[in-house]
């Protein structure tokens, strides 16, 4: 079992979702987050006072998958989120120790899907 964490541009969320649905990945958690990588921030000015806001809005996806779903999930995220511009984001893959469905108390791979 793996946990996929992806940081993407906010406007790519819809296309990433569509790509994931095409691959039968329907269970995702989405968060609005702030962050910055290589991308430059945007200037903000309040009553003449400049503020170099270097934190940009991003979307953070969390998807837990079984091994056989891993590659196609990654491909779907890339297909949906890639524009070729700086700031497209990153995908992190973590080993997932356990997964428990609260309703049924199922454990492991069965609980993921």
């Amino acid at each position: 079992m793996k946990l996929i964490i992806a940081i993407i541009q906010p406007d790519r969320l819809e296309s990433v979702k569509q790509e994931l649905y095409k691959e039968d990945v329907n269970l995702i958690t989405v968060n609005e987050v702030l962050g910055h990588g290589r991308q430059m921030g945007l200037t903000e000015v309040y009553r003449g006072v400049k503020e170099m806001g270097n934190l940009l809005r991003k979307i953070r996806l969390e998807i837990a998958v079984n091994e056989d779903f891993l590659e196609r999930t990654i491909k779907a995220i890339i297909k949906g989120a890639q524009t070729g511009e700086t700031g497209d984001g990153k995908i992190f893959i973590l080993d997932l120790v356990e997964c428990i469905r609260i309703r049924t108390e199922e454990r492991g791979g069965e609980a993921i899907g």
């Binding site: 906010p10 406007d11 609005e32 987050v33 702030l34 945007l42 200037t43 903000e44 000015v45 809005r57």
Partner: protein, 457 residues
């Protein structure tokens, strides 16, 4: 370079006329210290004295209409994404500031100056000759300047209505130039034709009590044109862009409804029985339309919605606007019920069918509602309500209906063509739409270097 050009256009449109007007008024009156005093001096022969009751009501009504533009800002601001809310508020406030100045400098003269031409002429430029004594041809019982400032608020809200069509994707500089040119070449002439002395639609007998053609059809058609030519918002393909704060929209609706009492009941230009009639039918039509839209939602979409009810109420206010001084309360109920039916059809069926991205439904509500209102005036108007008006089709006068159709068609045709030319010229010079990257980040940060909400404190 483009910025410089935009500034140059602004300069040419405002600062130079301001200077010329000032020089003219100044030199024309010899050594008068301030232009305002000089203009009053020319109105030495007061024809009639202003009525205190009428004046008091019109001052309040003017303030009420002024509040509609910020109300509209919240009405629209709640419906856009949270990255564009300041952009919308800013555009509304900008129009409030810019048109207030334009109106004093030359807008009022072009719209209401006596003249039979395309415009009213330049006689009252810089408010020269627009004094504190009543000007009987427009309003015999209130100071001329009060009539001027009351009309100013109408000139302000009309271009502000268009904002909803190109929301979330228009460059601020282009918007600014568009607003000034549109006010000058579309609003001012149409206003003159319908309301000005010597205006040809006025002389033909077209009834427009408070601005159905001048304000709503005019702005609605311009909105339709801009929505088509600026193109769809990014991400609007196939699914709705969700409103970020509906309570804002409801607050805006409430402010609009409140301000509309000034808009319609104030358009009687006095504290009289026609004002009371306008007040009653305004409220009645808004209520009937809000209720009808909620019912339509309930029937077709299973639940009544708040946004639907608010949209309906605004539609009802739009439709009753040209009719307010001429129809009875029972007619207002019918006008309200039907406007929601027509507007719902426009918004939920015509728009998806043709696929233009009229972001906040300016065409669907203001133009469709305005056309229905203008035609309904020709149907329901009654001399029993207002002896100075006319009878409509249902009261035995089919000719009035025809006149209403002509006035509507002229406004639709002229506004579309003129707005299109203005739009294209601006697009050629400075590009109307923001770059795709800016659209993704949002207008708040890219056009104004501000954001409305923080995620982290």
């Amino acid at each position: 370079m483009k910025r410089f050009l935009a500034l140059l256009v602004l300069f040419a449109l405002f600062v130079i006329p301001a200077g010329l007007v000032y020089a003219q008024v100044e030199t024309g009156q010899g050594a008068a210290p301030a232009p305002a005093q000089a203009t009053q001096a020319t109105q030495a022969e007061p024809a009639a004295k202003a009525d205190t009751g009428d004046t008091a009501w019109l001052i309040v009504a003017t303030a009420l209409v002024m509040l509609m533009t910020p109300g509209l800002a919240f009405f629209y601001g709640g419906m856009v994404g949270k990255k564009n809310v300041l952009g919308v508020l800013m555009q509304c406030f900008t129009i409030l500031c810019v048109i207030s100045i334009q109106w004093v400098l030359y807008g009022y003269s072009l719209s209401f100056g006596p003249g039979k031409g395309f415009w009213g002429g330049f006689e009252w430029v810089g408010l020269k000759g627009v004094g504190l004594a009543p000007y009987a041809d427009y309003a015999a019982t209130i100071p001329h300047q009060l009539f001027m400032v009351f009309q100013m608020m109408f000139a302000v809200i009309t271009p502000a209505l268009i904002i909803g069509a190109f929301a979330e994707r228009m460059k601020f500089s282009a918007f600014l130039v568009f607003t000034i040119l549109w006010a000058t070449f579309v609003y001012d002439p149409v206003c003159h034709w319908v309301w000005g002395i010597g205006g040809w639609l006025r002389e033909m007998g077209a009834l427009d009590f408070a601005g159905g053609t001048v304000v709503h059809i005019n702005a609605g058609i311009a909105a339709f044109m801009t929505a088509i030519f600026i193109g769809k918002r990014k991400g609007s393909n196939g699914h709705a862009i969700l409103p970020h704060n509906l309570p804002f929209t409801i607050l805006g609706t409430a402010l609009l409804w409140f301000g509309w009492f000034g808009f319609n009941a104030g358009s009687s230009l006095g504290a009289n029985d026609i004002a009371v009639n306008a007040f009653v039918v305004t409220n009645t039509a808004a209520a009937a339309a809000g209720l009808t839209w909620a019912l339509i939602d309930w029937i077709f979409n299973k639940k009544p919605t708040m946004l639907g009810m608010a949209t309906g109420a605004v539609g009802g206010l739009v439709a009753i606007t040209p009719a307010a001084g001429f129809v009875s309360a029972l007619s207002a109920i019918l006008i309200g019920v039907f406007v929601s039916i027509f507007c719902y059809f426009a918004v939920a069926w015509i728009k998806p069918k043709f696929g233009y991205d009229d972001a906040l439904d300016v065409f669907g509500v203001h133009c469709v509602g305005g056309i229905w209102g203008a035609l309904a005036t020709g149907l329901f108007a009654s001399k029993a309500v207002n002896p100075a008006g006319a009878d409509g089709l249902f009261f035995g006068n089919p000719k009035q209906f025809l006149v209403q159709v002509i006035a509507t068609a002229v406004t639709v045709g002229y506004s579309f063509v003129a707005s299109f030319i203005i739009y294209k010229v601006i697009d050629l010079v400075i590009k109307v739409r923001v770059p795709e990257k800016d659209e993704i980040v949002g207008l708040d940060l890219t056009q104004h270097h501000e954001k409305a909400y923080t995620i982290l404190e």
